[in-house]
Subunit: 102 residues, 2 copies
DNA sequence: TATTACTTGACAATAAGTGTCAAATATAGT
DNA sequence: ACTATATTTGACACTTATTGTCAAGTAATA
């Protein structure tokens, strides 16, 4: 199972790009990118979009990885994690079909 | 579809309890409880446990509602929300079966 | 050993979440 | 309408998380 950091690092190296080059494109300090690639920090969505661009990765697929990483990390320690995910899916479907709230 | 706030409020009123009484038991300001019941703030886990006690709600079920609410709220605006949840579930299963990380 | 790539940690800046309080509003009884 | 009680709202301080910046560190290679 590949983490988002691994995906980014693998692709960057496959393209022969340096941290310096990618971080310049994304407009972040290369220290941050280094940490992102080692899953020590999470990218923002803006970073993700730019990263997808320069690394020629599918933006939507990367976003799925990003969000799922965040959720998984957030609730992996809960006994009811799996059940909560199922309920969350129902809630989201409900919310999307009833857009007016508050 | 009931939010966690609605669940708490409905049950509190069904039991004929006042915000003041419940918040005293949970040891929080009643303003906070008021906001929790209107989904303006999220309870902490500790609050949830105490709330389950005094409101005679199932602790685990409430926790599922709590976590699923948090996730749903977090990603409802994403087009790929549903897909991300599925991937998250796989990641969690993977993480649980490979407990040693880092 | 000099150079380049990457990593690490300390620190400041910013944002997000929390608790407290008092005033405002609502609700119901008289 | 008046009172009392319940709830809501918003301002604020306080704490905690997140984020960016930087310089010094390590690692690998020529």
């Amino acid at each position: 199972m590949e983490t988002i950091g691994q995906i980014l690092r693998n692709k960057r190296q496959a393209l022969g790009l340096l941290l310096r080059q990618v971080s310049a494109y994304v407009d972040i300090d290369q220290a941050i990118l280094s940490k992102i690639e080692r899953n020590e920090r999470k990218p923002t969505k803006e970073m993700l979009v730019k990263l997808a661009e320069i690394l020629k990765l599918d933006k939507d697929e990367l976003l799925v990885q990003f969000i799922s990483d965040k959720i998984a990390y957030e609730i992996v320690d809960e006994d009811c994690a799996s059940k909560a995910l199922k309920v969350a899916e129902k809630k989201i479907k409900y919310l999307k079909s009833h857009p007016i709230q508050n």
